[in-house]
Amino acid sequence: MAIPGKSSATAVTREPPATRLQWRIAEVTALRDETPRARSLTLRVADWTGHIAGQHMDVRLTAADGYQTQRSYSIASIPQASELELLVDLIPEGEVSPYLTQEVRPGDRIEMRGPIGGYFVWTAAHGGPLMLIAAGSGVVPLASMLAYRAQAAPGLPTRLLYSVRTSEDIIFRPRLDSWARQDPTLTVVLTLTRGAPIDWTGYRRRIDMDMLRQVAFSRDQSPLAYVCGPTSMVEETADHLVALGYPPERVRTERFGPSGDPR
């Protein structure tokens, strides 16, 4: 049985901030459609002091009558960047994502606070080899890790296994391609789950045990794994990694979206 304690978290324990995380106003400086449903927002935050790769921001919107709502979005940008990049995936029935992907324009000001999160983060001190596994917009915090790794730990053996529905749903494809091209120690493996172009040579199915056996570092290399995506994908993938011999404390997860369970 587990010993009470925080053995799996101590590596990233930081002093809690002494004062409240304040809401700040960020100004939208650029928008870019990453996929037909995902939009990247570049924001300027006064006195932004950076973040740790993997962290997220809380976003708060206020309607004219004072009604407010909040959501969290992962940070895509490199930690040292002067401007912040968030990626918002459109949930058609959603309350916030249609606004952020369709209504917002440069010059708009959005309240946010952060960066937040101290476990699903990676710094060079965490080491590797780094096994990154994502589905859909789960690639966003991992993209921040890869951008950071390219500067802080180039040459650290790293693999990204990334599952999306179709080739046009690949978020950050140009930067993923570019990193993989520039760095032979980085491998990016894509799998398409709902139809692939005729000339597609990669995987064409959901991430499964066989795929992980082929793509993931073996446990002998003592890899550190980060898994981010919809709940069912993360649950299954984390279970598979543990079955492949990854110690549970070397598998860090972040989940979003519905559980897949009946109500």
């Binding site: 009470p4 304040q22 606004y99 959005i110």
Partner: protein, 352 residues
């Protein structure tokens, strides 16, 4: 705060001087500055200087994500002025950045510490402008005042809820019909024959139950709303389990040996709670959700349930409570999350 001031100084005082700024002094009130302009005998030029200072402060405020406005400073506060009857050496322009509430405009002994959180908020852009009609160029100086209404997100409508529903949702939360799963690592799968639950006090095991014994304890059913710090709330969740009151009684304890507990789980997860939050039916070890055995993804075979706190306090895969004298941070609490986590006070992160 520092960068706001340094920008003003950079624009106003560094050569080439845009403004004849003599000093920029922190005033008593948080975020309040006295900006002293060089004396000009020409009233027209003095007025120009004040107007320009106003524009400058506004522009810098805008760079900090806020809009400044200006109000007259009462005559009595200004001891030297080009407009006063005594010939002064300098003209004063008092510029104050402060929230409208009396508490925050007050001297440090009233507001507690300097800079006050509201001042930091202000400089980080939480605040925005008052109505333009309240702008005045002071005869004796200027006060810049800013209030803290959040800015309207242009074009955002949002989804209104019925009042009854709204009152059930803590601030910053939205209602989900789904039951999302959030955890930091893989889901442990402890077989029931290896499962046990313990009450611990230091090195002493006060009581321990295996699965069969635990299931034989008196059960309680409750239907409650739950609130996750990641912002979803779910209404009317049905749980069945053993209350902490019943566990303490079954352990033969008269009362809790300490005021705090650390709940600990398979996988190494921990979370800290005051014992008072677990007693009188407020906390239980739940093993059924909506009539079904609790699924591993949701914390099964059993999880702590403390529905009046953010749901990270309801530790999944819980294996015991350790009574401790001091309230020490658990897993998320040591990673920047709040020590207590009251959703109605929106205690999400440390300092909230």
């Amino acid at each position: 705060m520092r960068s706001f001031r340094s920008r003003i100084v950079r624009f106003a005082a560094d050569p080439p001087k845009l403004l004849p700024l003599e000093t920029l002094i922190s005033e008593y009130g948080p975020g309040r500055y006295e900006l002293t302009l060089h004396y000009r005998s020409d009233l027209g030029r003095a007025a120009d200087d004040l107007a320009m200072l106003k524009r400058l402060v506004r522009a810098v405020a805008r760079r900090h994500g806020m809009t400044a406005c200006f109000m007259a400073l009462s005559y009595g506060l200004v001891h030297a002025s080009p407009l006063s009857t005594l010939p002064p050496r300098i003209a004063n322009g008092c510029s104050s950045l402060a929230r409208q509430s009396a508490r925050d405009c007050a001297a440090p002994e009233l507001s507690g510490r300097w800079p006050a959180p509201s001042t930091i908020a202000l400089l980080q852009g939480r605040c925005h402008s008052r109505d333009d009609s309240q702008y005045h160029i002071a005869r004796k100086g200027i006060i810049v005042a800013v209030d803290d209404k959040p800015p309207v997100s242009r074009g955002f409508v949002g989804r209104r809820r019925a009042t009854a529903e709204r009152e059930r949702v803590p601030p910053g939360q939205y209602v989900t019909l789904d039951f999302p799963i959030l955890s930091a690592g893989p889901t442990p799968h402890t077989p029931l024959q290896e499962w046990s639950f313990a009450l611990q006090h230091g090195p002493n095991r006060l009581a321990e139950w295996n699965w069969q014994q635990f299931e034989a304890l008196p059960k309680t059913s409750i239907t409650v709303d739950i609130h996750c710090v990641t912002k979803w709330s779910k209404f009317d969740t049905g749980w069945e389990g053993v209350t902490i009151d019943a566990l303490i009684k079954a352990a033969g304890l008269e009362q809790s040996p300490t005021a705090y507990v650390m709940a600990y789980s398979d996988g190494g997860y921990t979370t800290n709670l005051p014992v008072a939050d677990l007693l009188n039916g407020r906390g239980m070890i739940a093993s059924k959700f909506n009539g079904e055995p609790l699924a591993p993804g949701h914390g099964g075979p059993a999880r702590l349930l403390v529905p009046h706190l953010y749901f990270w306090k309801s530790a999944k895969w819980v294996r015991g409570l350790s009574f401790v004298a001091e309230d020490k941070p658990g897993f998320w609490e040591s990673l920047g999350y709040h020590m207590y986590g009251d959703p109605w006070k929106e205690q999400r992160y440390s300092g909230d």
